[in-house]
Symmetry: C2
């Protein structure tokens, strides 16, 4: 929750971009998330991770996705009804997220259409892109969101 | 990690199904995840959630997805190189996940092809489907995984 003005469906157009606060990733965060949700050697133990596909400790992809959600909820993009996802496509993990990385994310509006089934809402497709502090894309996703309209279309 | 025999790319064929252990969802889990990754009223507070889109406390979709990953890592489906996702499509949140729900998940092999770029691996598309204890689908996803092959194709 922040002081940014709420946005409604009518305020959105393809191409609009919103910034998010950065997020630091610690080894402790990576290991804690992995213990509960993704207990595999490359997410749990720095030494054991060396001999794996990831060649070192890396965050679970689901941890990265959850951190992206955290950045979205704290961003300049504040839909009046909150961030409510119908679904997500195109979730890709391009590079490992490592302990000590700082993630940067922006949100871009891809398209916005009035819902046919729910006239109080629009369906808005957004693009999330997260980079590390070396400017490399680490992950991206395309959530489809329910966004409240200011006016109900008859 | 469990005692189930590891599977390799060559062992997999479309239509194969694997079961996962169930997972209970508590109010405390929902709120703890939301505080860190998705701090919105409908995931944080039982009373505040009543007046929202979800009409009651519901797990963050990213929490549900992370729990699905947890069930996959503890399932009968144990790739020799672990569960390594390239990406995920078709992540859908059909129904709210509520405190007290027990999630049931199965994994189905959709297709399996040899990687052209990495001859030691296959690219295997799997379907995750999670239901609550009333048999209603709550979420589904289609991860694409890197799965080690027993033999390197020349």
């Amino acid at each position: 929750m922040n002081a940014t003005r709420s946005v409604y469906f009518e305020d959105l157009a393809p191409g609009m971009r919103f910034d998010c606060p950065t997020r630091e990733v610690t080894e402790q965060d990576i290991v804690r998330f992995a213990r509960e949700f993704d207990p595999q050697p490359f997410h749990l133990d720095r030494e054991a991770a060396e001999a794996t596909f990831f060649q070192g400790l890396a965050a679970s992809g689901w941890h990265t996705a959850a951190m992206m959600m955290g950045m979205a909820t704290r961003s300049d993009f504040q839909p009046a009804n909150g961030h409510i996802g119908m679904g997500v496509d195109g979730l890709r993990f391009q590079r490992p997220v490592r302990p000590g990385d700082t993630l940067h994310m922006h949100i871009k509006i891809l398209n916005a259409r009035r819902s046919t089934s729910q006239p109080r809402f629009g369906v808005v497709k957004v693009r999330w892109e997260a980079c590390n502090d070396r400017g490399e894309v680490v992950a991206e996703a395309t959530p489809s969101m329910w966004i409240e309209a200011r006016e109900v279309r008859p």
